[in-house]
Amino acid sequence: MFEQKKFTVSHAPFWHVGSSVSTRSYNIIFAALPAVLFGVFTYGIPAVGVIALSVSSAITWEIAFNKVAKRPPCIGDGNAAMIGLLLAMLLPATAPWWLVITGTFVAVIIGKQIYGGIGANPFNPVLVSLAILTLSWKNFLDFNEVLVNYDFSYPMAYPLASLKHFGVFAISNLKPAALLMGQQSGGIGAIFGLGLILGGIYLIIRGYIRWEISISFLAGVWITALLFNMADPAHYAGPVFHLVTGYTLIGAFFLATEDSSSPVNFIPMLIYGASAGVLTVLIRNIGAFADGVVFAILIANLINPLVDKIRPKALGKVI
């Protein structure tokens, strides 16, 4: 059936950088490595376990779905491996094996395949999965609780939780530079901000992600946090703190930029990125969760089809 000679009109994304989907996936995996390796050095074998299980189970779910749906295997495109890696980067190193496997199931099957596979998912699969895990097993994702046995030279209270519950005073001794260098508690691949920035720059230069989304996301975070901070510095942390903690940087360079759930034109990309950034800080400062990145980007995914309607007028169009 698949040998039939027919013209197939494929779905989004249409942006072409002149390379195949698999090169793209493996380049994103490559760009994530500095942050991933840092997480492995920090959290040791348990982090290796989470990452390895997450990547392998994500690919396994995908090939299993291919078999059940009687489609040709698509695991060669590396997209499932990438989803597995990104999910592992958000999880704590102590995530139990069943949580990892459930997480990749939700990401690959519910987040992506049931919508028709790569390019057809309206939401970022990794974030769909993390949101469901957060709502279902929030204790296993509470970094303060699950990382109690890790002891480093720096404070291991999750910075965003300290800020949310104890106020600006509780984070006053945290230095942004130290946080950027990964001296904080958090997800395996989300703590090393510098590594994430390097990976992001690489992906932007190679054209695998769009700088418009990353930069507008960060600008949205920065400006909103700054406004809150100026209004009431005793209650709301400064913009730099918000940039270097939680999932902000991995969100800017690896999550918000997911191709099929983000827009393709210039103005829409700016609106999409900025609204995710603004929402992130709104959720952190006045919402229910310590970190807002996951839900902020999912909501931005939701408005993506809408903002993507803003597009340049076609030249010479006749009605």
């Binding site: 290796v48 392998s56 690919i59 396994t60 695991i75 499932a80 303060n144 109690v148």
Partner: protein, 147 residues
């Protein structure tokens, strides 16, 4: 890369990483340190974090173990005193003045007029008592408890 080669890579990843993952989980189970570093208590009033190590470490508040692990008062061996608070501070049945665990070390005759605080009262009066005395450290409910 040809599609065939891409598939081989993907299957290779499954096999190798599954092996690595299973080994990491099975052969290196995380074992808690002998002296806890931090504790995370859950209660109806919200979770509370206690940074154990910082309280006794030289680089922290340099408290003596026996300031908290207070009974027996002059232990020959520190290990005798280092028990869970709840080992002695328990909710008691009606008519009971002390828990059975006291009898590990005492005769009933010793304990005639003993009274023992239940666990959360023991925590509150020790933690908050010392913070008040030291003039630093949290004393308000919402400085320890997180809902």
């Amino acid at each position: 890369m040809t599609p065939k080669r891409e598939l081989q890579i993907a299957f290779g990843l499954i096999i190798i990483l599954l092996l690595v993952g299973v080994i990491s989980y099975a052969a290196f189970p995380a074992k808690p340190p002998e002296v806890p570093i931090r504790m995370y208590y859950k209660s109806v009033a919200g979770n509370a974090m206690f940074d154990h190590k910082t309280h006794f470490a030289e680089s922290g508040y340099a408290l003596d173990c026996t300031q908290c692990h207070h009974h027996p008062p002059y232990p020959e061996n520190l290990d005798d005193a280092i028990l869970k608070c709840g080992y002695c501070h328990k909710a008691l049945a009606k008519g009971q003045n002390y828990p059975d665990s006291c009898l590990d070390c005492h005769d009933e005759a010793d304990l005639e007029d003993s009274k023992i605080a239940k666990k959360s009262d023991a925590f509150h009066s020790q933690c908050i008592g010392c913070h008040k005395e030291a003039g630093s450290g949290p004393t308000d409910c919402n400085a320890c408890h997180v809902l």
